[in-house]
């Protein structure tokens, strides 16, 4: 598999209603969605959340397959949590018992809902990165965290660091791919051997990769200085973020859902 094929959380360019929302709206909605997920308690509330997720995916026009593919890497964590919850939930209705393990009916339900919750949590957040370009995402974060500047948190610098890091992930992946191919062409073997041999085999990859990362950082710093970059003070933006009608609708909907789910969840529904 080529490294390039890793599309985990990668932005899917598009022009759906979800793509067009302001990144701040999407960030707030995701936070509300996560809060609601943790307030959900039983089938009714989970069904509401599932409907919200399904509706958002439908509106975003992101292929459902890609959303589910994002779940693969976290499968281990999901299974691990499920097993823990299954065995360690105390309850009255004992279903099975062996050695030190007890499975209760409450445990089964809890494990089930925990799995559903984690999967919905991840699908939901992936939908955010699938529909928002990294640049917009950091812009939104910077704007949302803006008030923290009052307490001297370097919000702009953090956002800039984040967007540079995000910007260079594909570049570094491509670079890694290229150096790997070049060393493979000279007979380097990255796939076989024991742990120590493999670690040693990485040296011809890591040394050039680090050198090139430093070189790029240096060049970028020079280029930014040449264009008189001096931090966030007094800097204007090319893309002004503006809330539109759709944003207010989305925010209202998500707020209503969160409150609704919170109330229903309180009554154990």
């Amino acid at each position: 598999m080529a490294l390039k094929d890793i599309t985990l959380g990668q932005y899917f360019p598009g022009n759906s209603p979800v793509h067009r929302l302001d990144p701040r709206t999407k960030l707030i909605c995701v936070v509300l969605y996560i809060v609601a997920l943790f307030l959900a308690a039983w089938f009714v509330t989970y069904a509401v959340m599932l409907a919200v997720l399904a509706g958002s995916i439908y509106l975003s026009k992101v292929p459902v397959k890609s959303v589910f593919r994002g779940l693969k890497p976290v499968l281990f964590i999901v299974v691990f949590t499920a097993v823990l919850n299954l065995f360690y939930t105390p309850g009255d209705t004992v279903l099975a018992q062996f050695w030190v393990f007890t499975i209760t009916l409450e445990g089964v339900w809890r494990a089930f809902f925990m799995v559903v919750r984690i999967m919905m949590l991840i699908s939901g957040t992936f939908l955010l990165t699938y529909t928002t370009s990294p640049i917009l995402l950091t812009d939104g974060l910077e704007s949302l965290l803006g008030p923290l500047k009052m307490v001297r948190v370097p919000v702009h610098e953090l956002a800039m660091m984040m967007s540079i890091a995000l910007r260079f992930i594909p570049t570094l992946i491509e670079e890694t791919d290229k150096i790997m191919s070049a060393q493979r062409a000279r007979g380097a073997d990255f796939e076989s051997g024991n742990l120590i041999q493999r670690a040693k085999a990485l040296l011809p990859l890591l040394v050039p990769l680090f050198i090139s990362a430093f070189r790029r950082a240096d060049e970028l710093a020079t280029a930014m200085e040449c264009r008189c970059y001096h931090g966030g003070e007094g800097r204007t933006r090319l893309r002004q973020l503006k809330y539109k009608a759709a944003d207010y609708v989305a925010l209202f909907l998500f707020l209503a859902i969160t409150v609704g789910v919170g109330v229903l969840g309180h009554f154990g529904l």
Partner: protein, 287 residues
């Protein structure tokens, strides 16, 4: 003559099944003969880099086969590995792959991976360094102390040291000054003659390729529209220009003359050929 390396109906699709799906090569039949000096031309994104990475088994075909000396290079993992040594590939900007403490160690990386003994490795490193014009005192230096052009030479030596039967170079002169270009092209020609190896030179510069190669293969949009001796390929001046490739300046002048109504052979690309063509034309008019 039997080709030394050959592709049959080679197709390669990147990121299949995602929105980024892209077919870089589409049923390509390509071949190179023993001892041939072959040029591959194509603009950025034409699929030429994808093609050459198939020739030494770095990329696996989506469909189709790659044959090296009549054996499918993917038929057995051992053959795949051996192919990488017999078909040496020098990437674009190869100086970014250097990693060892000394030039000597870096050049010996390939031969070492081949499992050769010390003596043979030493011989190969020294002969490869000689071919690319590195002096003995360069060998004990760190590759990172050298100039850009010298780093490139070290990287090329690293591949030449494996003494491949087929040597492929992807834009070996990119970013070098004219003098560096000349001397690297000269080194490559020397290797070609001394080892009677097949050399495949990949470039987007017609001028550079036209001067050295016996045969030209043009790649465009994942296909091979033209191939043959440079003169034949340059007959398709207009089509080449549409592909964003262009022909050597001399050829362009002659194409223009023809368009102006002068009856002259437009496929020339060296000064000697131009002289001949003009003399032939004048001779015809006088006679």
């Amino acid at each position: 003559m039997q080709p030394i390396i050959e592709t049959k109906q080679l197709t390669h699709t990147y990121s299949a099944g995602t929105p980024f799906e892209h077919t870089a090569l589409d049923s390509v039949d390509f071949c190179a003969y023993p001892g041939e000096y072959l040029g591959i031309i194509g603009h950025t994104g034409s699929g030429k880099s994808t093609l050459i990475q198939h020739l030494n088994a770095l990329l696996r075909p989506t469909s189709g086969t790659v044959l090296f000396q009549d054996t499918d290079i993917w038929s057995d993992p051992k053959i795949t590995k051996k192919t990488r040594f017999q078909v040496g590939l020098v990437f674009q900007y190869p100086e970014y792959q250097l990693f060892e403490e000394t030039v000597y160690k870096d050049i010996s990386f390939g031969p070492k991976n081949m499992g050769l003994d010390e003596k043979e490795i030493d011989r190969r490193v020294r002969s490869a360094a000689y071919f690319v014009g590195l002096r003995d005192d360069h060998l004990e230096k760190s590759p990172f102390e050298l100039s850009g052009g010298q780093k490139r030479r070290v990287a090329i030596a690293g591949v030449i040291a494996m003494e491949p039967k087929v040597l492929i170079l992807d834009e070996p002169t990119a970013g070098l000054d004219p003098e560096g270009v000349e001397s690297i092209l000269g080194n490559i020609r020397e290797y070609h003659q001394a080892h009677n190896a097949t050399v495949i030179l990949v470039s987007h510069s017609m001028e550079e390729v036209a001067r050295s190669v016996d045969r030209l293969v043009a790649v465009n949009d994942g296909k091979i529209p033209f191939q043959g001796p440079p003169r034949e390929v340059f007959r398709h001046g207009d089509e080449l220009e549409q592909m964003g490739l262009g022909v050597p300046q001399l050829t362009r002048v002659f194409h223009r003359l023809r368009a102006m109504g002068v009856d002259i052979d437009p496929s020339v690309y060296t000064l000697d050929q131009a002289k001949e063509a003009i003399l032939a034309k004048l001779g015809r008019e006088v006679g």
